[in-house]
Amino acid sequence: MGIRINRGYLAIGFAAVFLVGCASDKSDTDTMEDGPGDETQTMTDNTDSSDSMAQPEVVMPAEPEIRNGDIWVPETPNSQSLMALSGVFYFDFDQAIVKRAGHSELNKHASVLASDGALRLRLQGHADERGTREYNLALGERRANAVRAYLVAQGASRTQVEVISYGEEKPADAGHSERAWAMNRRVEFSYR
């Protein structure tokens, strides 16, 4: 979790640096002053290591790794440290629509899959306990299929992604509340 938050922060930082760069080109920094000034400053300082990039030793970026079904990818394109991509995506009641909030993380999964055709992913579809077991198996499959379709649309190959539905048989939360049900309506990623 910590790593993921960290990465989000870094991404904002880079975007800010990029914006500053553009702004200075246009030599009109007034509008930028209203932006996330402090953060931009500190991040600019931190990433002011362009000198080290110029040094001769070539640092090889880390390769994606599968650990316990999760995929770990370089924190940044050239980073040596890895971070796990989120492998759980949640759904609304009786729905199999991939939520917009998950798109950016799914895009990262798609690009890892697209860049390494040997990667194999199993999507495990799940439902909450309400309704009948067989219907929920179908619902879990719908959800995993929706995620697969999204990944394929973003560049993954269909043959890389297998779908298995467990319906309501493998809850993540054993409770019987709205909160537990929300945790159980999900698709889990398992890289192999």
Binding site: R133, Y135, G167
Partner: protein, 442 residues
Amino acid sequence: MKLIKCAGIVIAFVLQVSLVQQVAAELRIEVTEGLDDAVKVAVVPFVWEGRRPLPENLSEIIDADLRLSGRFETTPVDQMLSLPASASEVFPRDWKLLQVEYIIIGRIQAQSDRIQLRFELFNVPRQAVDITQTIEGSIDELRDMAHYASDVIFENLTGIEGAFSTRIMYVTATGPLDDRSFQLNIADADGHRIKTVLQSREPILSATWAPDGNRIAYQSFEKDSRPAIYIADLTTGARQQITDFEGLNGAPAFSPDGKSLAMVLSKDGSPDIYVLDIETRRLRRITRHYGIDTEPSWTPDGKAIIFTSSRGGKPQIYQMTLRDLSIERLTFEGDYNAKASILPDGSGIIMVHRREGIYHIALFDMNRGRISVLTETSLDESPSIAPNGSMLIYATQVNNNGILAAVSVDSRVKFNLPSSEGDVREPAWSPKKRMTFTPISQ
């Protein structure tokens, strides 16, 4: 990714592991709602004419059967004023005082290595014997003999075929969520004699009986956690993997002649109903819709299949005639009707029905087109009808635990079968009696 044609893949499976049996959770019947006008009966302790005590108390088993059916009030032995061993010893006034209407009297004898039970049903108001029967069995069949007697008495008094000799198959899940163990069990209808027929770390579901009561089919995730349908033979212990398709492989249902298996596969895109000829392995796709089609169940004549479909937007019950594959929608009331099965007389459908967000077991009256809710609990599912068509068993949640419960089709009798351990779900009532006896002519 195809039908597994090789009948040679027969894996012996655990029919009765003693270790497993020791830990198998007990089921105990608790009547939650009985008839207000329950008939008062008395099961007098049976006379045993042998020397060593019998391993089972037959009169106690019959007493429990009748009491737990919810239709009878039995009489505690310590209230009985006399303990007749035959109809000729009955003093009717002893029983009229207690307002007992029927007395069950029995005598057990040993005939070399066989046990003979003679039981009588004495009608107090008429002061006459309604039934006398003598049956014979082995020492291992004492419970079967008692359940047989309960069935005979129950049918005589209610006009409904008894279900005390039938069995219940169900799934138990034990252990924490990240380390679950699943068992497929078969118990007598009174919760005794539990046998574990299958154990797995992966879910087991949709277990169903063949009409002969000797085979079962179920879905599990045994090979690399992928779903498949299996058929197991309970007498030989052999089992066969039937399907290995991409996608769903589930909801098996034997046809009334036992020759075909309806199932749900999603190999062609969306969940559809298929019918497999078990002998020839010919597979026929019978529904074709982008919606969810699932939970097939045969009509008693085997000419049609009812199923759940989301083709109208929400799950409803449809009927498909196999001859011409014509489809008719059966339910319109409510926005969630699923997992339907037809009563043996074809008069109605038992199903899961959602009302105000709560999932109940309901009866859909085919003639009047009306739905009546049979259960008051929530999260009710997996109803299964007894072969006599008068009771059904289902799964529900009580105190955050999955338990089995039963209700009569007229909803007047209700009882729970709480388990001593684990989550119990997906009951399936056996279509046949475990054992039956032929009365010996006197």
